[in-house]
């Protein structure tokens, strides 16, 4: 791991003692872990373990009753999707949240929102600033389109694309934000082996070439173990294992959670 372009640094994001419940149902109980700069961090666990809820807490879609999110050493006072986006955290969604009627390129261009400073009047009258920005943003998005090898579909409305490609577009949109940290919610769900392998390649490539810290959720252990630096395992909303893939694989609790125990 020493030959990486971006060696793993200190903690960039920490979640501390997070508890989240919906009415009487406890989704997450007293969960803490950290994410190091430039690493690929996986959150795994069986169905209903609270993985997506965890991601939604980090991203601000859910508000945990107890606990805090610490970004770059400072506690984030008000965690909302918008504030997190401004801090440089982007994400993808489990069930795809693309802008269905917009083209692939337009979807990715929305990711450039925080790098777009011109207001609607500047856009309406196509003043030089708006034109310049639009060009820069388009150039950046074309780069991402090249990077993800989706050149041939860039003008197609996203809603007409097959699932695997949509997942790719969503990754592209997250990349367009130039975020330091990308949260990927089941980026490989519903994909075949071929597509999974390709997605893994992109995740590794992004991490290696841009240095983006990646947090990914999966319930399928196989793929994740190969590409992540560290893995945290959730079960029934609690951390039952945290460490390198090898450590986690050897953890008895994890084995029990995945394979079941005799009672």
């Amino acid at each position: 791991m020493s030959d990486r372009n971006f060696p793993i640094g200190g903690p960039v994001l920490e979640v501390k003692n997070i508890s989240l419940s919906f009415g009487g149902v406890k989704a997450i109980t007293d969960t803490s872990f950290d994410i190091l700069e430039h690493e690929i961090r996986a959150i795994i666990g069986p169905n209903g373990a609270g993985k997506s809820s965890m991601l939604n807490c980090i991203n601000g879609i859910y508000k945990p009753q107890i606990g805090s999110v610490i970004y770059k050493g400072e506690e984030v006072r008000k965690v909302t999707p918008n504030i997190m986006a401004q801090m440089g955290i982007s994400r993808t969604f489990q069930n795809l949240a693309l802008f269905k009627r917009m083209s692939v390129l337009d979807n990715i261009l929305v990711g450039r929102k925080l790098h777009t400073k011109s207001n609607f009047l500047e856009v309406a009258f196509q003043l030089p600033k708006a034109k310049r920005e639009e060009k820069t943003n388009r150039d950046r998005c074309e780069e991402i389109v090249d990077f993800l090898e989706i050149e041939d579909i860039k003008n197609t409305p996203v809603g007409k694309l097959p699932y695997g490609l949509q997942k790719k577009v969503e990754l592209g949109r997250a990349l367009a934000t130039d975020a330091n940290l990308i949260l990927l919610d089941e980026p490989m769900a519903g994909m075949n082996v071929e597509e999974k392998r390709e997605m893994c390649r992109f995740i590794l490539k992004v991490n290696d070439e841009i240095g983006t810290t990646m947090v990914l959720i999966e319930h399928d252990m196989g793929v994740v173990m190969d590409i992540s630096d560290r893995v945290v395992v959730l079960d029934y909303g609690k951390v039952i294992g945290d460490g390198t893939p090898d450590e986690v694989r050897a953890n008895q609790k994890v084995i029990d959670a995945y394979l079941g125990v005799e009672h």
């Binding site: 999707p81 982007s90 802008f99 990711g111 949109r173």
Partner: protein
């Protein structure tokens, strides 16, 4: 598809040039009958402008708002009062300020969109329709204490020259509608439009990308009402030639809504196609009634047929072609192009 001027491609510019030549030179030179201007071209362009406004809020931002006529009324009465009370105000200036006043109402009545959506928002925005009309009726000041209820609109005077004949009014409208359409296209194709559409298609994702829902929705409401306000002022000053709150009732709001749906949600040119269809279809039916059946069909039946056909078309478009006539037009163009490339 490379833009060569502003956001326009070569095809756009050719289309624009053709439209302008036809609109500004060919039509004024060939069409001399006032009927075409006062009954078709003038209301068409005014309502198309209002439809662009409705398009922005409904087609692009996905907010089901129903109250275009209310904002049109706000614009019309604002324009009347500005010309009446501010001596020496230029007409175009009054028109723009009227738009801004309508935009302020738009922001106010857009506030519910931050909490409710869909059909509930539609009900909430209906309030704008009824409130604005009620306000104008209730407070005599807006109507300059005219007891008859119908006020004659002032003459349009630009740079000292009165524009009173149908053809002159038509040219004034073209001069306002053309730049406003281009501006709407610029916004729709640029980052502003992408923000709107991202809110329409998936608001949670939009927020995660840093799009502020509050700002984007209110901005769309403001711009939409600005367009409606200017359209309303033009409508009152050139088509109605009078100001009466009744002219801006809920029926007009629905008319604009139908123009958006038939024209095609989320298209600017659809606004013109939809407005043309809704305005011309009754004319065509009447023509058929008079010239084919020689008045054998009763006028009430004809207007009933009109309603039925609109209803059926609306359902057909919602089910089979949500992108409306604008999309049909695109498909036809592609098919024709293929036909020619084969031979």
């Amino acid at each position: 598809m490379k833009p060569i001027f502003m956001t326009y491609t070569r095809g756009d510019l050719i289309n624009l040039a053709i439209l302008l030549i036809v609109g500004v030179i060919v039509i004024p030179m060939t069409v001399s009958s006032g009927y075409w201007y006062t009954s078709i071209l003038i209301p068409w362009l005014c309502l198309a402008l209002a439809t662009i406004g409705q398009q922005i809020i409904m087609g692009y931002t996905g907010q089901l708002a129903l109250g275009a006529a209310g904002f049109m009324a706000a614009g019309a009465f604002a324009c009347f009062n500005l010309i009446l009370r501010v001596p020496g105000i230029p007409f175009v200036g009054a028109l723009l300020i009227s738009g801004l006043i309508a935009a302020a109402f738009g922001i106010l009545f857009g506030l519910p969109s931050l909490r409710v959506r869909g059909i509930y928002l539609m009900v909430a925005t209906l309030a704008s329709q009824f409130f604005i009309i009620w306000m104008i009726d209730k407070f005599g000041w807006f109507k300059n204490y005219d007891s008859s209820g119908i006020i004659t609109a002032q003459d349009i005077v630009i740079l000292g020259k009165p524009f009173t004949s149908p053809i002159e009014m038509y040219l004034v409208i073209v001069a306002v509608v053309t730049p406003m359409t281009l501006i709407a296209m610029n916004m729709a194709r640029g980052s502003t439009g992408r923000n709107w559409m991202s809110v329409r298609d998936m608001d949670i994702a939009a927020e995660s990308m840093g799009v502020s829902l509050l700002k984007t929705k209110l901005q769309a409401f403001a711009i939409s009402s600005f367009y409606c306000g200017v359209a309303g002022a033009l409508f009152a000053f050139t088509y109605l030639k009078s100001l009466e709150p009744v002219a801006f009732d809920i029926k007009l709001s629905f008319k604009v809504l139908f123009m958006v749906i038939l024209g095609g949600l989320g298209t600017i040119n659809g606004a013109f196609i939809g407005a043309a269809f809704i305005l011309l279809f009754p004319v065509l039916l009447n023509y058929i009634g008079n010239n084919v059946f020689h008045g054998a069909i009763d006028a009430t039946i004809i207007s009933a047929i009109e309603q039925v056909v609109f209803g059926v078309l609306m359902i057909i478009f919602m089910i089979y072609e949500p992108l409306g006539m604008a999309k049909l037009w695109e498909t036809i163009k592609i098919k024709i192009a293929r036909l020619f490339s084969k031979t």
